[in-house]
């Protein structure tokens, strides 16, 4: 067992000051991982709270075998995954007639930038939710949260090779789904028009061979 950071060791003994210090040090990391895993959701605060409660309860089981941040991400990821799993088992409207679904941006009106960005973010997470839980977790941690594959392997408790395989198939499925989503064509067309205006003003170029985002 490696020597533990004195703050973590004190927190394991239940010292309130150390627990507060731990909370201050890691709260943004916890929120970032939870946000990346569950996406834009009104439940984010509840998930962050549940993650911290779980961290405090599990703290005595941390033995220093992995980096503390890796152990912490594992706990947060598990709490967030449980939330995603519960959300998946909640009732969803299937084949609902027009007018019974949640409000959508009115096509007759110019959406403002914030609303359009939120719509794109929701579209991304809608496609992520279609992936299996294992593939979704690996892809979100690696491609959205920027966690290295070796650390992802420790978080999900799987070999690095397995993580890379899951990542490959997750990307393949996701790219195919994104390429064939007609709703995204509209959402991204607006963004490209904005980019075009910016480019027209600033004269900056972009990389890439084939033009357009629509598959």
């Amino acid at each position: 067992m490696a020597d533990l950071d004195p703050l973590i060791a004190a927190a394991q003994r239940g010292e309130p000051r150390a627990l507060r210090g731990l909370f201050e040090r890691y709260r943004n990391d916890v929120l970032r991982i939870a946000f990346r895993v569950i996406g834009p959701s009104p439940d984010l605060e509840d998930v962050a709270q549940e993650a911290f409660v779980q961290i405090i309860r599990s703290l005595p089981s941390y033995r220093g075998n992995a980096k503390f941040s890796t152990w912490l991400f594992r706990v947060v990821t598990n709490v967030a995954r449980m939330h995603v799993r519960r959300e998946r088992s909640r009732p969803r409207l299937a084949g609902a007639p027009e007018g019974l679904l949640e409000a959508r941006p009115d096509p007759g009106q110019q959406p403002d930038e914030e609303a359009a960005r939120n719509a794109r973010l929701r579209a991304l997470y809608r496609h992520l939710d279609a992936l299996s839980e294992k593939k979704r977790t690996v892809l979100v941690l690696h491609d959205l949260a920027g966690v290295a594959a070796a650390e992802v392997a420790q978080i999900v408790e799987a070999p690095v090779l397995t993580v890379r395989t899951r990542l490959f198939y997750a990307r393949k499925e996701l790219y195919a789904a994104l390429a064939s989503d007609p709703e995204l064509t509209d959402l991204l067309a607006w963004l490209q028009a904005q980019d075009g205006e910016e480019r027209g003003k600033g004269g900056t170029g972009t990389t890439g061979a084939a033009g357009g985002g629509g598959g």
Binding site: G14, P16, L19, R20, F23, N28, L31, F35, R36, L44, E45, A48, Q49, F52, V53, I55, I56, R57, P60, R90, P91, R92, L93, A94, G95, A96, P97, L100, L101, E102, A103, D106, Q109, R117, R120, L121, L124, D143, L144, G146, F168, R171, K172, L174, Y175, A176, A177, L178, A179, S180, D181, L184, L191, T207, G208, A209, A210, G213, G214, G215
Partner: protein, 487 residues
């Protein structure tokens, strides 16, 4: 060639990612671009990759939402305190376990020293128990009248005995399962007496109203339903009997039934599909042609579920005309209660215009109470024309508000009867728009046939001052079906 590429070629995602990142040599880039130009799967993968990079870039750059850290810190530190207390308590666990073991040993020693009980004579074998009747679903108010005249609300836990009567109020329905023999649906404003519930014979008496039976193949067993002096005897079938005072109406959807009079003489031999009434005879058939039943499908009763299954209930919702549950169509006029096994329940909400909204509900061992918010209703535009955040309406409470206005709405209808030719019953839809505070902003009426202007104006006046639970947001628009009939 393109087809071959589509079938055999797996796009190299890593190479495409390098291309997008501008990390290929010029030669490699040109080579890959030439390949992409004639490889459709690669073009699709590249398009998907670009879309992902755009969306992921935005997601990575999105600011973390502001949250109430003080609340989370309090909860986390509270958890730490309770965890510390729990660990302290656990230190005493070995001592407590030893004490419990000692107490158990003493009790066992005392028990062994007690004298043997004196053997009791064996009881006589009891008469065969009647077939169990299980209430599988209930809509609205249904009563159980016991043979001694006591009357109590019928519940999912009630166990009706021979001689009991199931009494459903108008708009209500009760679904019964009689052992493995039959499923019986008692439809609104009906009374069904359970005369005999034996292994070899089931006899039911329809005192009034309508009952639908779905009977398993019987073998040597007898299944009879009597009404208005007639007996309808069954040989494995699915049929409905309605009692109209001294006359009965029988519709057979599957199988074969005989209709007997009081003396036991056969008066009709009905093979499905067929309709028959005691006053007219066969319905809907020309002489010499096979008789046909009405096109309307019979409604079946819910299948039996284990008594240990979870409870599922749905409040009465004015915006829903009927529920469809695993193929059964149930009335939505009253609160629905039933037991369902854990798993996914497919629920269909039939709207007044015939559209069906389908929901999948996960039922766990603890059961589920349907939340009307799962059915989102059309949103209302805010005053400035932009769509504001939608409000949410407690549909059960809204339903109660509309029920409260029912007497004045009925008076509107009766007043319009004096001046117009309206007759029988009228069904219409009331479309209400309420603001964030729950006050009526506008009301519209829609009906299949033209309505007298006086009725429209009267209904508008009667609903103008209704106060609904505040939905918040930018208000909400919803529809409530209304039905009027002559008293």
């Amino acid at each position: 060639m393109v087809e071959r590429l589509r079938e055999e070629h797996e796009p190299k995602l890593a190479a495409l990612a390098l291309l997008e990142a501008g990390r290929l040599s010029e030669r490699g880039r040109q080579r890959l671009l030439r390949h992409v130009a004639r490889c459709e799967p690669c073009r699709e993968a590249l398009a998907g990759l670009r879309r992902f990079e755009t969306l992921a870039g935005e997601a990575r750059a999105a600011d973390l939402p502001a949250i109430d850290w003080a609340r989370i810190e309090r909860a986390a530190l509270g958890a730490a305190r309770s965890e510390t207390r729990r660990r302290r308590a656990l230190r005493w666990l070995p001592a407590l376990a030893a004490a419990a073991l000692l107490a158990f040993g003493v009790q066992a020693w005392v028990a062994r020293r007690r004298p043997e009980p004196i053997a009791q004579p064996r009881a006589r074998p009891a008469a065969p128990a009647p077939l169990a009747v299980q209430v599988t679903a209930l809509v609205g108010t249904v009563h159980l009248r016991w043979p001694d005249g006591r009357r109590e609300p019928l519940s999912l836990d009630s166990r009706p005995q021979p001689g009991s009567t199931i009494e459903a109020e108008p708009g209500a329905e009760a679904h019964l399962s009689v052992a493995d023999t039959a499923r019986v649906l008692v439809l609104g404003d009906a009374a069904l007496q359970l005369n005999q519930l034996a292994r070899d014979a089931v006899e039911l008496g329809l005192v009034r109203g309508s009952a639908v039976s779905k009977v398993q193949p019987l073998g040597s067993r007898r299944y009879e339903l009597s009404a208005a002096g007639y007996r309808v005897a069954v040989r494995g079938t699915h049929f409905e009997v309605r009692s109209h005072g001294s006359a009965i109406e029988v519709r057979v959807d599957e199988g074969h039934v005989h209709v007997l009079d009081v003396a036991g003489k056969q008066v009709a031999d009905l093979i499905a599909p067929i309709g028959w009434t005691s006053t007219v005879g066969q319905v809907g058939s020309a002489p010499g042609e096979p008789a046909r039943a009405e096109a309307r499908p019979l409604r079946t009763a819910r299948r039996a579920s284990a008594a240990s299954d979870a409870l599922f209930s749905i409040p009465a919702l004015p915006a829903v005309a009927a529920w469809h549950i695993d193929g059964d169509r149930l009335n939505a006029a009253g609160e629905l209660r039933m037991r369902v096994p854990p798993g996914v329940l497919e629920l269909g909400a039939e709207l007044p215009d015939g559209r069906i909204v389908r929901l999948e509900i996960a039922i766990d061992a603890l059961g589920t109470r349907f939340d009307p918010a799962w059915l989102r209703l059309p949103h209302e535009r805010s005053v400035n024309g932009r769509r504001g955040p939608a409000g949410e309406l407690d549909l059960a409470a809204a339903s109660a508000v509309i029920r409260g206005a029912q007497p004045s709405l009925q008076r509107c209808y009766e007043r319009s009867l004096r001046t117009t030719d309206l007759s029988g019953s009228v069904k219409l839809k009331l479309r209400l728009t309420i603001d964030a505070a729950g006050k009526i902003r506008s009301s519209e009426l829609a009906a299949a046939s033209p309505l007298p202007p006086g009725l429209v104006a009267c209904v508008r006046d009667a609903t103008r001052r209704l106060q609904f639970p505040p939905p918040g947001g930018s208000g909400i628009t919803f529809e409530a079906p209304l039905s009027f009939r002559t008293r």
